[in-house]
């Protein structure tokens, strides 16, 4: 009898040993957390977004905690693709998990530049196109707000790589359907959503914004209801896999994302609080699936019951 792993998932051609992926910007370049928590608990990690050259990022302050949420305006501070290839790439093999490199740029050509260089690196399993960062002036979110540009960018990337890749979409739009369809039409293997929600905080005493860029990206538990709605919306309109994220803290959150249409998930902000989160999530998922008699977590994707309204205290 085959020994099945109930939390293994497949995103098209990409197989992951766990549905839990570390989100871009929350796991560095993949090596920093390795001494604290074994990366093998992750199905994959997504690196900090990499640009063609080093970006110094936005002025400080770049973070503001707001209740159980976080605002950030990092501005995609990153080392640039050349340094990444020279210093980080050699360390990626043997981490015991899949490596997805997040790619950022200000113009379409930037993304192509980065991917072309990354194609030379062996230890990479896929890419995530960050076309949804709210914290950079050009590029970023502007891309995924424009479905035509999304499709153009995605199909150009498709034409230069055979590797698996996904496009990461913004929730800061009236509807994610158009962007999701554009990514699918362009040939992406999957989409991920959501990136952060535009938000801001003010210190009423000094009358200053808490972030130097005034507005930033909102993440953490408060955005989960928004993320679930966006994943569900996308799920109804495309057939490529969806990687769901936004506010995941518990294994129950993961089940919820699967139910509304995710085939895998990412965990971001919560990693800062507890780098052992992926291990705990796997354990929780494993127990639940066994108790519930579910062979594979993938069976849950899109199983939302939309048939009949119900009430609190259903017969029981």
């Amino acid at each position: 009898m085959e020994n099945k792993n109930p939390i293994k998932v497949k995103l098209g051609s990409l197989e992951l040993q766990s549905p839990v992926i570390a989100a871009s910007g929350c796991y560095g370049y993949g090596i920093e957390y390795a001494e604290l928590a074994a990366p093998s608990h992750l199905g994959a990690f997504v690196t900090k977004s990499i640009a063609p050259v080093r970006w110094e990022g936005n002025p400080p302050p770049r973070l503001a905690e707001v209740g159980p949420g976080l605002l950030n305006s990092i501005g995609l501070a990153n080392m640039g693709v050349d340094e990444f290839c020279a210093t980080v790439a050699p360390k990626l093999a043997g981490l015991g998990t899949k490596v997805i490199v997040s790619v950022a740029g200000r113009v379409v050509e930037d993304y192509l530049t980065v991917v072309r260089k990354l194609e030379e690196v062996d230890s990479i399993d896929g890419y995530e196109l960050n076309i949804s960062c709210p914290n950079v002036k050009e590029g970023g979110m502007a891309f995924s707000r424009n479905p035509a540009v999304t499709e153009e960018l995605v199909s150009k990337i498709r034409s230069i790589t055979n590797r698996w890749f996904m496009a990461k979409l913004t929730p800061n739009v009236a509807t994610v359907t158009d962007g999701a369809k554009a990514a699918e039409a362009g040939g992406a293997d999957a989409i991920s959503l959501i990136n952060t929600v535009v938000g801001m905080a003010v210190d009423y005493r000094s009358r200053r914004p808490k972030l130097a860029t005034i507005t930033g990206g909102y993440s953490g538990p408060p955005i989960k209801p928004i993320a679930l709605a966006k994943v569900w919306e996308a799920y109804k309109s495309i057939s490529i896999p969806i990687v769901g994220l936004g506010g995941i803290v518990t294994w129950q959150d993961i089940i919820e994302f699967f139910i509304v249409g995710a085939s895998a998930v990412q965990v971001g902000t919560m990693l800062y609080a507890d780098p052992n989160t992926p291990e705990k999530l796997n354990a929780g998922l494993g127990c639940y699936l066994e108790e519930a008699g579910i062979q594979s977590i993938s069976e849950l994707t899109g199983t939302l019951k939309t048939d009949s309204p119900y009430m609190h205290g259903v017969p029981g």
Binding site: R54, L63, E65, Y272
Partner: protein, 268 residues
């Protein structure tokens, strides 16, 4: 080496109206730590507060370490509720601590407010190495000194209060000035280091009065809002000269920086 562990709380006491001291058992962190480093502390197993809180390592005694903090918001308030026997998740020791060159003879340590605990740790450390230590403590009032009433550091320290009351009043910079003059006269400035930890007002004032080129070393410890604490999120950037960009990371490149590399947070 960074350690992530659940450490047992040995005690948690209020040492001044708004200031608390917690001792924790952590052999590994104690063995690895140097003065100036900090811990990233999970206040509570919940999402409120969402993030860890950075706290400087105060005293280290064998396998026990001290955290001293002022209650300023939800996290530091919640932290007063942990009691002996409970565990707290610690991540550390983190960051780059203070430098202590071998040939150092005199150390002027200027701690303002909650900048004092790491200075006490540094003081103990340098004193044990045979350095002549000058621990200078500035606080607004007597109640703002983050030392218990019987703390032995009180004997070693020169304490000055901004608000006239009991004891000498004035600014910590005045005490520092006095030592700069004294050590200049005794020809020891070249073997002297100055270490600073405190509010920006203190830091900027010390940049003005510190005879930088004549000293062996001038270092300052900075604070910044943090996410990960380990150089991952790029959240704790501050304007510091000398790196590949305009910014350096408090959690990774700091919290201790060369005094004169640090730029005012108010931009140009």
């Amino acid at each position: 080496m960074k350690i992530l562990e659940n450490a047992v709380v040995l005690s948690n006491t209020r040492i001044a109206p708004h200031i608390w001291s917690m001792w924790l058992q952590s052999p590994e962190i104690c063995a690895a730590a140097v003065p100036g480093q900090f811990l990233h502390v999970r206040i509570k197993e919940s999402t409120l507060p969402l993030l860890r809180r950075p706290l400087s390592i105060g005293r280290v005694e064998e396998d026990k370490l001290e955290l001293v903090w002022r209650v300023v918001g939800t996290g530091t308030e919640e932290f007063t509720k942990r009691s002996a026997g409970e565990t707290v998740s610690l991540l550390g020791p983190l960051g780059r601590g203070f430098s202590a060159p071998d040939s150092l003879e005199h150390a002027i340590m200027v701690g303002g407010g909650l900048g004092v605990p790491p200075m006490v740790y540094l003081h103990d450390h340098l004193k044990a190495k045979g350095v002549q230590t000058h621990l200078l403590i500035g606080a607004r009032t007597a109640e703002d000194i983050p030392l218990g009433p019987d703390d032995t550091a009180r004997q070693d320290a020169e304490i000055i209060l901004e608000k006239p009351g009991d004891g000498p009043s004035g600014l910590a910079t005045e005490l520092a000035m006095k030592w700069f003059t004294a050590l200049k006269e005794s020809g020891k400035l070249g073997k002297t280091a100055v270490y600073i930890c405190g509010p920006w007002g203190l830091v900027l004032a010390m940049q003005k009065i510190t005879p930088g080129e004549k000293l062996m070393l001038a270092e300052v410890s900075l604070e910044q809002q943090m996410g990960c604490g380990i150089g991952v999120c790029q959240g704790c950037a501050v304007r510091v000269k000398g790196g590949p960009t305009s910014y350096q990371l408090v959690c990774h490149d700091g919290p201790v920086f060369p005094l004169f590399d640090v730029e005012s947070p108010h931009g140009k």
